[in-house]
Protein backbone atom coordinates (compact mmCIF):
# COMPACT_ATOMS: atom_id res chain seq x y z
CA UNK A 1 0.00 0.00 0.00
CA UNK A 2 2.77 2.37 1.04
CA UNK A 3 4.78 1.20 -1.96
CA UNK A 4 1.90 2.09 -4.33
CA UNK A 5 1.60 5.53 -2.72
CA UNK A 6 5.30 6.25 -3.24
CA UNK A 7 5.03 5.16 -6.91
CA UNK A 8 2.13 7.61 -7.38
CA UNK A 9 4.15 10.41 -5.80
CA UNK A 10 7.08 9.72 -8.15
CA UNK A 11 4.67 9.79 -11.18
CA UNK A 12 3.19 13.12 -10.06
CA UNK A 13 6.61 14.69 -9.54
CA UNK A 14 7.70 13.47 -12.95
CA UNK A 15 4.61 14.99 -14.63
CA UNK A 16 5.11 18.32 -12.83
CA UNK A 17 8.76 18.42 -13.94
CA UNK A 18 7.77 17.68 -17.55
CA UNK A 19 5.10 20.37 -17.47
CA UNK A 20 7.57 22.95 -16.10
CA UNK A 21 10.09 22.03 -18.80
CA UNK A 22 7.41 22.47 -21.51
CA UNK A 23 6.45 25.87 -20.13
CA UNK A 24 10.09 26.93 -20.06
CA UNK A 25 10.54 25.76 -23.64
CA UNK A 26 7.40 27.60 -24.79
CA UNK A 27 8.61 30.78 -23.02
CA UNK A 28 12.01 30.56 -24.77
CA UNK A 29 10.37 29.92 -28.15
CA UNK A 30 8.02 32.86 -27.60
CA UNK A 31 10.90 35.20 -26.75
CA UNK A 32 12.88 33.97 -29.73
CA UNK A 33 9.92 34.58 -32.04
CA UNK A 34 9.35 38.05 -30.54
CA UNK A 35 13.02 38.95 -31.13
CA UNK A 36 12.86 37.85 -34.76
CA UNK A 37 9.47 39.50 -35.24
CA UNK A 38 11.20 42.88 -34.85
CA UNK A 39 12.96 42.21 -38.17
CA UNK A 40 9.89 41.09 -40.20
CA UNK A 41 8.63 43.33 -42.99
CA UNK A 42 5.20 45.02 -42.91
CA UNK A 43 3.55 42.61 -45.41
CA UNK A 44 4.50 39.52 -43.41
CA UNK A 45 3.37 41.17 -40.19
CA UNK A 46 0.03 42.03 -41.80
CA UNK A 47 -0.45 38.41 -43.00
CA UNK A 48 0.45 37.05 -39.59
CA UNK A 49 -1.99 39.42 -37.94
CA UNK A 50 -4.82 38.36 -40.25
CA UNK A 51 -4.04 34.67 -39.74
CA UNK A 52 -4.10 35.18 -35.97
CA UNK A 53 -7.45 36.97 -36.13
CA UNK A 54 -8.90 34.13 -38.22
CA UNK A 55 -7.58 31.46 -35.86
CA UNK A 56 -8.96 33.30 -32.84
CA UNK A 57 -12.39 33.73 -34.41
CA UNK A 58 -12.55 30.02 -35.30
CA UNK A 59 -11.50 29.05 -31.79
CA UNK A 60 -14.12 31.36 -30.30
CA UNK A 61 -16.84 29.87 -32.54
CA UNK A 62 -15.96 26.27 -31.66
CA UNK A 63 -15.82 27.12 -27.94
CA UNK A 64 -19.22 28.82 -28.16
CA UNK A 65 -20.63 25.72 -29.85
CA UNK A 66 -19.23 23.44 -27.16
CA UNK A 67 -20.60 25.79 -24.51
CA UNK A 68 -24.01 25.40 -26.21
CA UNK A 69 -23.76 21.63 -25.89
CA UNK A 70 -22.82 21.91 -22.24
CA UNK A 71 -25.66 24.31 -21.51
CA UNK A 72 -28.34 22.27 -23.21
CA UNK A 73 -26.74 18.98 -22.28
CA UNK A 74 -27.92 17.42 -25.51
CA UNK A 75 -25.79 16.35 -28.44
CA UNK A 76 -28.94 15.71 -30.41
CA UNK A 77 -29.88 19.36 -30.06
CA UNK A 78 -26.47 20.31 -31.37
CA UNK A 79 -27.06 18.14 -34.48
CA UNK A 80 -30.54 19.57 -34.80
CA UNK A 81 -29.19 23.12 -34.65
CA UNK A 82 -26.68 22.27 -37.36
CA UNK A 83 -29.39 20.76 -39.53
CA UNK A 84 -31.68 23.73 -39.02
CA UNK A 85 -28.91 26.12 -39.99
CA UNK A 86 -28.24 24.14 -43.19
CA UNK A 87 -31.93 23.83 -43.86
CA UNK A 88 -32.44 27.57 -43.50
CA UNK A 89 -29.63 28.20 -45.96
CA UNK A 90 -30.91 25.77 -48.60
CA UNK A 91 -34.63 25.87 -47.91
CA UNK A 92 -35.75 26.28 -51.51
CA UNK A 93 -33.46 23.50 -52.70
CA UNK A 94 -34.75 21.09 -50.03
CA UNK A 95 -38.34 21.89 -50.92
CA UNK A 96 -37.75 21.38 -54.60
CA UNK A 97 -36.01 18.04 -54.02
CA UNK A 98 -38.85 16.81 -51.79
CA UNK A 99 -41.55 17.82 -54.29
CA UNK A 100 -39.68 16.28 -57.22
CA UNK A 101 -39.02 13.05 -55.33
CA UNK A 102 -42.69 12.73 -54.37
CA UNK A 103 -43.88 13.49 -57.90
CA UNK A 104 -41.46 11.01 -59.42
CA UNK A 105 -42.41 8.25 -56.97
CA UNK A 106 -46.09 8.84 -57.50
CA UNK A 107 -46.02 8.74 -61.28
CA UNK A 108 -43.55 5.84 -61.53
CA UNK A 109 -45.71 3.72 -59.23
CA UNK A 110 -48.84 4.71 -61.12
CA UNK A 111 -47.30 3.97 -64.51
CA UNK A 112 -45.80 0.69 -63.35
CA UNK A 113 -49.15 -0.42 -61.94
CA UNK A 114 -50.92 0.34 -65.21
CA UNK A 115 -48.33 -1.48 -67.32
CA UNK A 116 -48.30 -4.48 -65.05
CA UNK A 117 -52.08 -5.00 -65.20
CA UNK A 118 -52.57 -4.15 -68.82
CA UNK A 119 -52.62 -7.74 -70.14
CA UNK A 120 -55.33 -8.59 -67.60
CA UNK A 121 -57.55 -5.61 -68.32
CA UNK A 122 -61.07 -6.00 -69.62
CA UNK A 123 -60.05 -4.46 -72.95
CA UNK A 124 -57.75 -7.38 -73.70
CA UNK A 125 -60.42 -9.82 -72.62
CA UNK A 126 -62.81 -8.26 -75.15
CA UNK A 127 -60.16 -8.52 -77.87
CA UNK A 128 -59.32 -12.16 -77.13
CA UNK A 129 -59.60 -15.00 -79.67
CA UNK A 130 -62.79 -16.12 -77.95
CA UNK A 131 -65.73 -13.79 -77.26
CA UNK A 132 -66.41 -12.88 -73.61
CA UNK A 133 -69.54 -15.06 -73.70
CA UNK A 134 -67.27 -18.11 -74.07
CA UNK A 135 -65.36 -17.17 -70.95
CA UNK A 136 -68.50 -16.32 -69.00
CA UNK A 137 -70.72 -19.23 -69.99
CA UNK A 138 -70.85 -21.69 -67.12
CA UNK A 139 -72.49 -24.23 -69.40
CA UNK A 140 -69.42 -24.22 -71.67
CA UNK A 141 -67.21 -25.07 -68.68
CA UNK A 142 -69.51 -27.95 -67.72
CA UNK A 143 -69.65 -29.17 -71.32
CA UNK A 144 -65.83 -29.14 -71.60
CA UNK A 145 -65.52 -31.19 -68.42
CA UNK A 146 -68.13 -33.68 -69.64
CA UNK A 147 -66.28 -34.01 -72.97
CA UNK A 148 -63.04 -34.78 -71.12
CA UNK A 149 -64.79 -37.48 -69.14
Amino acid sequence: MRKNKSINNIDNDHLKAESAADEQLAYLASNLLDDHAQHLNATTLQRLSEARALAVSQLTASQAELAGINQSGSVLQWFSNGFNRNFEQHRMMFSLIIVLAMALTFFVVKQYGVDKNIEHSDAFLLAAELPPEAFADKGFDTWLVSKQD
Partner: protein
Protein backbone atom coordinates in the same frame (compact mmCIF):
# COMPACT_ATOMS: atom_id res chain seq x y z
CA UNK B 1 -37.44 25.34 -32.94
CA UNK B 2 -38.36 25.70 -36.58
CA UNK B 3 -39.05 29.22 -37.73
CA UNK B 4 -42.43 30.34 -39.02
CA UNK B 5 -41.07 30.41 -42.55
CA UNK B 6 -39.83 26.83 -42.26
CA UNK B 7 -43.20 25.65 -41.04
CA UNK B 8 -44.92 27.59 -43.81
CA UNK B 9 -42.61 25.92 -46.25
CA UNK B 10 -43.50 22.46 -44.96
CA UNK B 11 -47.19 23.32 -45.18
CA UNK B 12 -46.71 24.41 -48.79
CA UNK B 13 -44.90 21.21 -49.70
CA UNK B 14 -47.59 19.11 -48.03
CA UNK B 15 -50.35 21.01 -49.84
CA UNK B 16 -48.62 20.43 -53.15
CA UNK B 17 -48.41 16.72 -52.35
CA UNK B 18 -52.15 16.58 -51.57
CA UNK B 19 -52.93 18.43 -54.78
CA UNK B 20 -50.85 16.00 -56.82
CA UNK B 21 -52.50 13.05 -55.11
CA UNK B 22 -55.96 14.36 -55.82
CA UNK B 23 -55.06 14.96 -59.48
CA UNK B 24 -53.56 11.50 -59.87
CA UNK B 25 -56.46 9.78 -58.15
CA UNK B 26 -59.17 11.91 -59.71
CA UNK B 27 -62.36 9.92 -59.71
CA UNK B 28 -63.67 9.55 -63.28
CA UNK B 29 -66.36 7.09 -62.30
CA UNK B 30 -68.98 9.82 -61.85
CA UNK B 31 -68.51 11.42 -65.28
CA UNK B 32 -71.66 11.65 -67.37
CA UNK B 33 -71.60 10.87 -71.09
CA UNK B 34 -71.37 14.55 -71.99
CA UNK B 35 -68.32 14.95 -69.73
CA UNK B 36 -66.28 12.26 -71.50
CA UNK B 37 -63.67 13.40 -73.97
CA UNK B 38 -63.96 12.72 -77.70
CA UNK B 39 -61.66 9.72 -77.65
CA UNK B 40 -63.57 8.07 -74.79
CA UNK B 41 -66.90 8.72 -76.48
CA UNK B 42 -65.66 7.24 -79.74
CA UNK B 43 -64.51 4.02 -78.07
CA UNK B 44 -67.51 3.69 -75.81
CA UNK B 45 -70.01 4.73 -78.48
CA UNK B 46 -71.96 1.41 -78.32
CA UNK B 47 -72.80 2.34 -74.72
CA UNK B 48 -73.85 5.93 -75.42
CA UNK B 49 -77.56 5.39 -74.77
CA UNK B 50 -77.05 3.57 -71.48
CA UNK B 51 -73.88 5.26 -70.13
CA UNK B 52 -75.68 7.52 -67.70
CA UNK B 53 -77.53 4.55 -66.20
CA UNK B 54 -74.33 2.63 -65.46
CA UNK B 55 -73.10 2.46 -61.89
CA UNK B 56 -69.85 4.22 -60.95
CA UNK B 57 -67.82 1.01 -60.78
CA UNK B 58 -69.17 -0.05 -64.19
CA UNK B 59 -68.18 3.31 -65.69
CA UNK B 60 -64.75 3.00 -64.16
CA UNK B 61 -64.20 -0.41 -65.79
CA UNK B 62 -65.44 0.89 -69.15
CA UNK B 63 -63.11 3.89 -68.92
CA UNK B 64 -60.25 1.47 -68.29
CA UNK B 65 -61.21 -0.25 -71.55
CA UNK B 66 -61.18 3.10 -73.36
CA UNK B 67 -57.73 3.82 -71.93
CA UNK B 68 -56.26 0.49 -73.13
CA UNK B 69 -58.07 0.62 -76.49
CA UNK B 70 -55.49 2.99 -77.96
CA UNK B 71 -52.72 0.45 -77.34
CA UNK B 72 -54.39 -2.21 -79.54
CA UNK B 73 -54.15 -3.11 -83.21
CA UNK B 74 -57.06 -1.98 -85.46
CA UNK B 75 -58.32 -5.59 -85.72
CA UNK B 76 -58.49 -5.91 -81.92
CA UNK B 77 -60.07 -2.48 -81.60
CA UNK B 78 -62.79 -3.67 -83.98
CA UNK B 79 -63.41 -6.74 -81.80
CA UNK B 80 -63.68 -4.57 -78.69
CA UNK B 81 -66.25 -2.30 -80.34
CA UNK B 82 -68.37 -5.29 -81.42
CA UNK B 83 -68.27 -6.99 -78.03
CA UNK B 84 -68.61 -3.97 -75.79
CA UNK B 85 -72.41 -3.84 -75.66
CA UNK B 86 -72.79 -7.48 -74.69
CA UNK B 87 -70.04 -7.08 -72.11
CA UNK B 88 -71.77 -4.14 -70.47
CA UNK B 89 -74.98 -6.13 -70.20
CA UNK B 90 -73.39 -9.07 -68.43
CA UNK B 91 -73.91 -9.47 -64.71
CA UNK B 92 -70.96 -8.86 -62.35
CA UNK B 93 -70.93 -12.61 -61.76
CA UNK B 94 -70.57 -13.38 -65.45
CA UNK B 95 -67.86 -10.77 -65.89
CA UNK B 96 -65.86 -12.09 -62.97
CA UNK B 97 -66.18 -15.63 -64.33
CA UNK B 98 -65.02 -14.38 -67.72
CA UNK B 99 -61.97 -12.64 -66.23
CA UNK B 100 -60.96 -15.78 -64.37
CA UNK B 101 -61.35 -18.00 -67.45
CA UNK B 102 -59.60 -15.49 -69.70
CA UNK B 103 -56.69 -15.43 -67.29
CA UNK B 104 -56.40 -19.23 -67.57
CA UNK B 105 -56.89 -19.09 -71.34
CA UNK B 106 -53.88 -16.76 -71.71
CA UNK B 107 -51.58 -19.35 -70.20
CA UNK B 108 -52.59 -22.06 -72.71
CA UNK B 109 -50.38 -23.09 -75.62
CA UNK B 110 -51.39 -21.88 -79.13
CA UNK B 111 -52.54 -25.40 -80.03
CA UNK B 112 -54.77 -25.59 -76.96
CA UNK B 113 -56.22 -22.18 -77.80
CA UNK B 114 -57.11 -23.34 -81.31
CA UNK B 115 -58.70 -26.47 -79.88
CA UNK B 116 -60.73 -24.44 -77.41
CA UNK B 117 -61.94 -22.14 -80.20
CA UNK B 118 -63.08 -25.20 -82.16
CA UNK B 119 -64.89 -26.57 -79.12
CA UNK B 120 -66.62 -23.23 -78.54
CA UNK B 121 -67.99 -23.34 -82.08
CA UNK B 122 -69.08 -26.91 -81.50
CA UNK B 123 -70.79 -25.91 -78.23
CA UNK B 124 -72.68 -23.14 -79.98
CA UNK B 125 -74.19 -25.71 -82.34
CA UNK B 126 -76.00 -27.28 -79.38
CA UNK B 127 -79.66 -26.31 -78.99
CA UNK B 128 -80.33 -23.51 -76.48
CA UNK B 129 -82.24 -25.93 -74.24
CA UNK B 130 -79.18 -28.21 -73.98
CA UNK B 131 -76.92 -25.27 -73.19
CA UNK B 132 -79.40 -24.04 -70.57
CA UNK B 133 -79.38 -27.49 -68.97
CA UNK B 134 -75.57 -27.47 -68.87
CA UNK B 135 -75.60 -24.01 -67.24
CA UNK B 136 -77.99 -25.16 -64.56
CA UNK B 137 -75.73 -28.12 -63.82
CA UNK B 138 -72.73 -25.86 -63.21
CA UNK B 139 -71.98 -25.24 -59.53
CA UNK B 140 -71.77 -21.62 -58.35
CA UNK B 141 -68.14 -20.89 -57.62
CA UNK B 142 -68.45 -17.22 -56.67
CA UNK B 143 -69.84 -15.52 -53.63
CA UNK B 144 -71.27 -12.01 -53.56
CA UNK B 145 -68.10 -10.70 -51.91
CA UNK B 146 -66.05 -11.74 -54.95
CA UNK B 147 -68.08 -9.58 -57.29
CA UNK B 148 -67.42 -5.96 -58.07
Amino acid sequence: MASFQTRLNFALVFSLYLLMSSIALADDSTLSWSQLNNEQRQVLNPLASEWDTLRPWQREKMLDIARDYAKMSPAKQDLVQKRLTNWSRMTPYERENARKNHHQFQSLSPEKKVELRRKWMEYQQLPESARGKLRSESPDTYKDADLN
